[in-house]
Subunit: 126 residues, 10 copies
C-alpha cells in the first residue's frame, strides 16, 4: 500500500494566502488488471491554511518518497488520484487543493484525472 | 453501426466530485459522400455522478473497442460527435460531459465539433 | 465578388446545442491598394440553431469553394471578415458565431480581425 | 519625438462591433540611460467605435511608419507603452483598447507592459 | 541576507492604470538543508498606484541586483517567494501584485510558488 | 490485399535529376495478431529516372488510394514497409528510393521502419 | 504563364564565394486537373558565381513578383519546381542551386520536391 | 536480473537490407547507490541480417516485457545500456545496432548513453 | 559607416583548437532603397588561431557595439554579411569563420546569407 | 578556484567502445569584469577508453559538485570551457571528448564555446 507514514509537513511560512504547485514527472504504478506498468505525471496545486490558522505544507522530499511508494502498487488511475487527494488533504487540511494525474496512455487513449478538496477557484482547474 | 454493446462501466470510486478526461488520438471513420477515410482525435471530459448517487465511469478498454467500431462506418463529423455523446450519456448519466472531435481536415479545412450533456462549467469548454 | 451562391447548408443533425469550428489555413485575397496577394487563415466558430428550431449548418465543400472565390478579389482585411460574417449569418442564422481572420502580415505587422453575430459566450472569443 | 502626424485612420467599415489586433514584431527604441538599443514587440487589441457612431480604425501602413518613428528615440519601456496608448486613443477614440509591449530583456530580465483605454473585457487582457 | 537597500523606484509615469510584468530567467539561491544550489525563474506582475496617488515602480537594474543578492543565501522556495513579495510590496505599495517563482526541480519534482498582494484580478493568477 | 492495380504513374517531367518526397499522415492497417488497428505515417523519398531514360513518377491520387487499400489488411509493420517498397519499385524503377513508416506505438513502444531501393545517398536516410 | 521578364539580377557583391537562401512562405498556384488552388513554400539555396567571374544574384522584389505570377497558373508540383529552377539558372548561372517546394498537401499527402543545378554540396540538400 | 528468457525473435521478412527503430518512452530502473528510481527512454536502431542469411528481428511484445524486467533492478545507466546491447546482439546478431538511453536526470544533470554493435553508418549515431 | 574602430580582441586563451559561436538576435540596419528598417540575427562561428600562433578572439562587448553601428546604415543583406566577414577576418585572422545573417523578411520572403573565411569544415555550414 | 579534487571516476564497464553524454542545465559562474553572474548549460560528450585499456568514466555526483565549484568564480566563457576540458581530460584520458558550453547571453548576444580532446568524429561536433 502507498505509505502515508512517509509524508511530512512543516508550518506554513506566511499569514498571507499563497498558492503552491508541485509537479512530479516521474510517476509509475501498475495496472491491477494486466500487471503492466503505468506511467504518468502528478500535479498538486493548493493554498495552504495560513500560519496563524495552524496551516502546514507538505515537505518536498517526503512527497517524493510517498509518490515512489506507489511504484509496485496495482491500482487504477482514478484510485491513484483519489488516494493522493485523500492522503494530502488529511495531512495538510488545505484551504483548497487540486490533484491532477496525466497518464501516458494505454491502447492509444491518454487520460487525465482531476480530484479536488474545498472550493477551488476556477482558474486553477486546468 | 457503432456497437454500444461494447461499452462497459464501473461504479464511481469516490463520493467527492472529480473530473475525468480521455483522449483517443487514433480515431477513424469514413466520409459517407466520398467513401474516403476521415482521421481525427476524440476527447471526453466529464464529471461522473458520485458513488452514493449510483454513478458509473466508462471502462477504458471498452471505450477503445467502442471507438474502433466506427472504423468502417460512413458517417458525418457532426453525427460521430452526437452519437458518442448520446451513447456515453446513456451509459453513465454523468453530471456533465463534453465530447470534442478534432478532424485532420478535408480540402484544406480542419474542423472541431463539441457536443455536451448537462451544465458544463465554462473552463472545460475548450 | 465573393460568390455566395456557392454556399450550401444542411439541417442541424441534433436538438441538443453544440459548437462547430472550421479553420481554413489556405486563404488568399488581394490588397486593393497595392495589388499584392494577402495570405491568411479563416476560422469560424458557431452554435447552429437546433433541428427543431429549423437550424442549418454550412456544408464543408461549399464553404471551401466560397472561400476560394475571394482569391482574386481586391478587398481589405476588415471587409473580408465582415463579408464572411454577413454571408454565413444570412445562410445559417446561427445562435451565435465568431469569424476570425489571422493574416501573415505586411510590413512586419501581423493582424487578426474578429467579427461576431449574436451573444457569443466569452470563452469562444479567442 | 515619435511623430503622430504619420498616423492616419479610415472610417470603421461596419456597424456591428468587432475586434482588431495588430502585432509588430520589429520594434526598436533606445534606452535613455545607457544609449543601447531596446528591441521588442508591440501589440494593439481594440474595438473601434461603429461606423454610425463615427468610429475610425488606424491605417496599417501609417501605423508602421509611426512605430518606426521611435527608432532613435531615448525612451523607457513604460513611456513607449503609454505614448502609443495615448496617441492611438486620441486618433481613434476606440470603445476599448489594450497596448502591450513585450521586450527582449536587459540584464537577464524580460518585461511586458500593458496599458489600456476604456473598459477592456477580461479575455483580452493577456 | 537579501539586500533590500539595493532596491530603487521611480514615480509611476501615468495616471491611467497599467500593468507591468518582469521575468528574470536567471535566479539562483541555495537549499538550506543540502547546501546544493537551486535554479529558477522569478516573475512579477503588478499594477502600480498612479502618479497622482504617489505610486512608484521598481527600477529594472536595481531589481536585477536585488535578485542577485539571493545568490548564496540558504533559503526555501516558499521563503524566497514571500521575501520578494514583502520587499517589493514595501517598496512600491502597488494596487496589486503577483510574485511567481518557477523552480527547475529537485528529485524529479518541479515547483511553482505564487504569492500575492492586494486584490489580484483572476486573469493574472497564472 | 493491398491493391497495386490502383497505382498509376506519369512520365518524369525533366531530364535533370530531382528528388520527390511524399508524406501521408493518415495511414492505418490492422495488427495480424490482436486485430487492433495500427496508425502511422508513410514517407516516400525517391529520385525518379529521367524522362529520356523512360522514368516515371507515381501519381498522387493513385498513391492515396493504394495506401487506403491497406485499411483493413492484417499485416506487420515490417511487411507494410517492404510491400510498399516492392510495389512502388516495380511501378517506377526509380534511381533510388526510401520508404519510411513511423508508427504511433503499441505497449509504449514507437517504431520506425525504413526500406530502400538502389544506392540511397546518406543524407536522405533520416 | 509564369513571367520570367519580371526577374532582375544585380552583380554579385563579392569575390569570395558565399551562399544565399530565400524562402517564400506565401506561394500559390492552381492544380491543372481539379482547378483547386495549391499552397506551398518555395526555398532557393545557391552559391552565385563571384563578381570577377561575372556572377549575378536575383533581386528580391523581382523574385517576389515572379513567384506571384504563378498565382493563377494551372501547373503540377514537379513542373513548378523545375520551371523555377530553369528560369533562375538561366538568369544567374549560379555555381550551384537547390530549389525546394514544400506543399501543404492534397488528400492527406504532403509533398516536397527538390531540383538542382550544378554540383550541390551534400549539406545543402535538406 | 533482467530476464533475457522473455526475448523472442522472428525471421527477417526480407532479403533486402532495411533499418528498424524502436523507442520505449517508459523505461524505469533503480539507482544501485541511492535506491531511488531512474526514468528514461530506450531507443534501438538496427539493420537485421537478411532472411537468406538467417537473420531475425526482436518481437515487439517480448521487447516490452524484457524492458519491464529492469523495473526493480538496481543498475547504473552505463550497465543498463550495455546489458540491452549485449542481450539483443546475442538474440539477433544484427549487421549493426545502436542502443541509446536518454535519462531524465539526477541532480540537474541529464545523461545519454550510446552503445553499438558492428559497423554503424554515421548517420544513425544520433 | 559601420565603425570597425569599435572592435577589440584578446589573445586566444588556449593552444588547443576550439570553436566559438556568437549569436546576436537584435540586429537592425536600413534598406538602402526603401529606407525602411531591416531586422535580423547575426551568427559568427569560428576557430581562432591558437595562442602560440598569435591568435586572437573578438571581445564580446566590442562586438555588440560594432554590430550596433549598423543601426542607421543603408545597406543590403549581402553587403552586411560580407562587411562583417571582412572586418572580423581582418581583426582576428581566424583559422576559419562562418558569418550567417537571418533576416525576418520583406514582401513575404525570408533570407539567409552565409559568408566564409578559410576552409570551413562541413558540419559548421548550417 | 574550481575544485578538481571533487572529481571521481570509476572503471569503464565495457570493452566495447560506447559514447556518454552528460548535460548540466544549471551552471553559473561570475563575469570577471562586471561581477555579474553568468548562466549557462554544460554538455560533455566522450568515448571512454575501454576497461581492458584501463579506461575510466567520471562519476555523476562528483561531476555535479565539481561544476558547482565554479559558482562564485570570476572567469570568462572560454576559460570555463577550456578548464573543464583540461580537468576531465586529465581525470579520464578519454579516446575523445567534446565540452560544449551554451550561455544565456549578455547584451543581446548568446554564445556557445566548444573545446575538444583527441580525434572527435564529425557527427559529435554539434
Amino acid at each position: 500500500m502507498p505509505d502515508t507514514s512517509l509524508l511530512e509537513s512543516f508550518p506554513t511560512p506566511s499569514d498571507t494566502p499563497f498558492v503552491i504547485e508541485h509537479t512530479s514527472e516521474e510517476f509509475t504504478s501498475v495496472c491491477p488488471v494486466t500487471g503492466h506498468p503505468d506511467f504518468g505525471e502528478v500535479t498538486l496545486i493548493f493554498e495552504p491554511r495560513t500560519n496563524k490558522a495552524g496551516g502546514t505544507c507538505v515537505e518536498l522530499k517526503s512527497l517524493k518518497l510517498y509518490l515512489q511508494s506507489f511504484r509496485n502498487e496495482g491500482i487504477y488511475y482514478e484510485a491513484v488520484t483519489n488516494s493522493i487527494r485523500d492522503d494530502l488533504a488529511k495531512l495538510m487540511e488545505p484551504t483548497w487543493m487540486v490533484v491532477r494525474t496525466d497518464w501516458k496512455g494505454r491502447g492509444g487513449i491518454k487520460s487525465t484525472i482531476r480530484a479536488t478538496v474545498g472550493d477551488v477557484p476556477g482558474m486553477w482547474l486546468r
